[in-house]
Symmetry: C2
Subunit: 194 residues, 2 copies
Amino acid sequence: MHETLIEYIRERSQTALTSDDIALIEKAFMPKRFKKRQYLLHEGEICKCLFFIVKGAVRQYSVDDKGGEQILNLGIENWWAGDRESFHKEMPTIYNIDAWEETDALLLPKLYYNEVNAMTAFSEMRVLLDDNQHFANQRRLKMSINHTADERYDDFIKSNPLLVQRFPQHVIASYLGVTKETLSRIRSSRLVKK
Amino acid sequence: MHETLIEYIRERSQTALTSDDIALIEKAFMPKRFKKRQYLLHEGEICKCLFFIVKGAVRQYSVDDKGGEQILNLGIENWWAGDRESFHKEMPTIYNIDAWEETDALLLPKLYYNEVNAMTAFSEMRVLLDDNQHFANQRRLKMSINHTADERYDDFIKSNPLLVQRFPQHVIASYLGVTKETLSRIRSSRLVKK
DNA sequence: CGAAAATTTGACATGACTCAACTGGAGTGG
DNA sequence: CCACTCCAGTTGAGTCATGTCAAATTTTCG
């Protein structure tokens, strides 16, 4: 389990990992397996850990008045999950995160967060990650504000080819902010064109 | 000019500023005044500085095929502007940033960025800022995906009361991703209710 | 096989856009 | 001070994209 994360950090930082660093990572990150549909985080809880997905697939979503699930984020191998706002401010989260496939994750509890973050390689990785996430969010925001469902789906396929294969259409539809019926129609009208 | 920024950093960091720090800030940040409608950043350029708005109001927007301006961000006093992606990756930006009011800004060129960021107080402030921006973006994304124009306008008023007073309706409409006509109708139907 | 989940399809409703006209300031120059 | 223009905002009619609801079909998986 931990080797995946160690490799992940190595690929995303300049600084080499010392054996102390590795020991800290193995101590701070607790492996946990989640079954399909099991919650990593539940609405109303305080998000007490960050999750590194070693294997599997998860959804982050909120639930509206009608009981509909509105998917905000999807994650698979080598992604992070958790509600950053709830984690940092220690306030109840409005999101659910659950496992779509059986998922192996490494849990970083708040207790160790500062210690781990003091590690140079980790902190370099985190800065890089923050930047990339910011860019991705900005892009998604722009798409979501200014573009049609069809264009958003296009952009999604191009920027997230890995996710397309791992989640069913109705989940992707919700991620894009359209109904499953609309996405189905978008797809069928494409088959005609090609 | 610089006192505003220094105060801004003080309020957002634990660590006190040394006189060396202050000297560095005064050296690294170049004051510049922009007239109404003057560009801070133009589509196709590489974003060579980050802007701290001391006074005034700016818009960040992209232009679509039809020549329509799609506003992605608005900024006023004590906000940062610039295209982070273009700045970091040194790639041409797809955005324009221009002054909506006459604007005083402090320009931090890339040359000094690392040096300034090595300052503890600044870096603390930056982490805080990144977090808050992340939360705000996440919130806006959620609104934009799952909510009607009416609800988005509501949320906008609540979370950005300062911006409401500084920009005309058609600018806010574009920020929300609706036409000015739609926003006008939303507002008039509210007057009836109350 | 049989049940549950996912996708497709159709009919219809509706929110938001487009286009065009009109109103009402806010400046500006004579 | 008036005429003129520019810009923001409003209003109406028609259209289009997407949502809703209900049913049929296909796929998945125990």
